[in-house]
Symmetry: C2
């Protein structure tokens, strides 16, 4: 099971935007700050904007701010914005293919798909219970102060 690298970058960008308290930060600044390619970060930020997590700052060129309070942005929101909402396990109804499918005794959801989906719900619930504000709270205040001093 794999998750794209964009998720980590998106989480840290949200954390930085939260710390900047409405002062816009450009994708170029964030790219330099995290040592990431600007085009890559631009794409990640656009995904956050598309899902209403970040927004282009008014009257600024290329600057971004969080679109809502960090406490109202869950890690699941960020993962969904960057990775999409499709489940990791996609049931292809193998049981209904080939000779198996002609047995004619299948009904309702497959027990395999059901169990996989339940596990994924547990994963999503754990991510939904955690916000960017929670992450900020567990990150040292020295990091926050030095990040703000570097970017403002």
């Amino acid at each position: 099971m794999k998750m794209g690298k964009g998720v980590e970058a998106a989480m840290h960008c949200c954390l930085v935007m939260h710390w900047l308290e409405g002062r816009p930060v450009t994708s170029a600044q964030l790219a330099e700050f995290f040592g990431l390619p600007p085009a890559y970060l631009q794409k990640t930020l656009r995904a956050l904007v598309a899902d209403g997590i970040a927004q282009a700052a008014r009257g600024q060129s290329g600057g971004f701010v969080l679109a809502r309070a960090a406490g109202a942005i869950s890690l699941m929101d960020v993962v969904a914005a960057v990775e999409g909402r499709s489940p990791a396990f996609r049931c292809e109804e193998i049981r209904s293919a080939g000779r198996s499918g002609s047995l004619g005794a299948r009904s309702g959801q497959c027990a395999v798909a059901h169990a996989m989906s339940r596990a994924e719900m547990a994963y999503r619930a754990a991510l939904a219970a955690e916000s960017i504000a929670d992450i900020a709270e567990r990150t040292g205040s020295v990091v926050r102060e030095r990040t703000v001093a570097t970017l403002v």
Copy 2:
């Protein structure tokens, strides 16, 4: 987040081997049964054998049986055999790269990586709590009977 299609096939193969109660089934039979390419299923079965979930039946050519009771094979075992054990979210320590890394105030595990890892543990725990025998129990007995009649 994506999971390979092999997982679904592996789960259903385990279910079939469980129902066959030690009577070997070949990858060709399973491939025909589920309408899947034989080479694909052969690879999936080899992964199950490598992780001690299935084994080549003694004295048979190409037949497979479960290597242990279905109640002792969790869905997590099957996922791990087919997909590997790497976490979906891989922390690249973005916080320690670029200018961010030179701030010099980072210590311990990143709060983002920690939260992502906790969620993944919830996912794995849910899959570990569910066995192939549990799935079999929730699948109609008519399906089991017809599957056995078709494959024996």
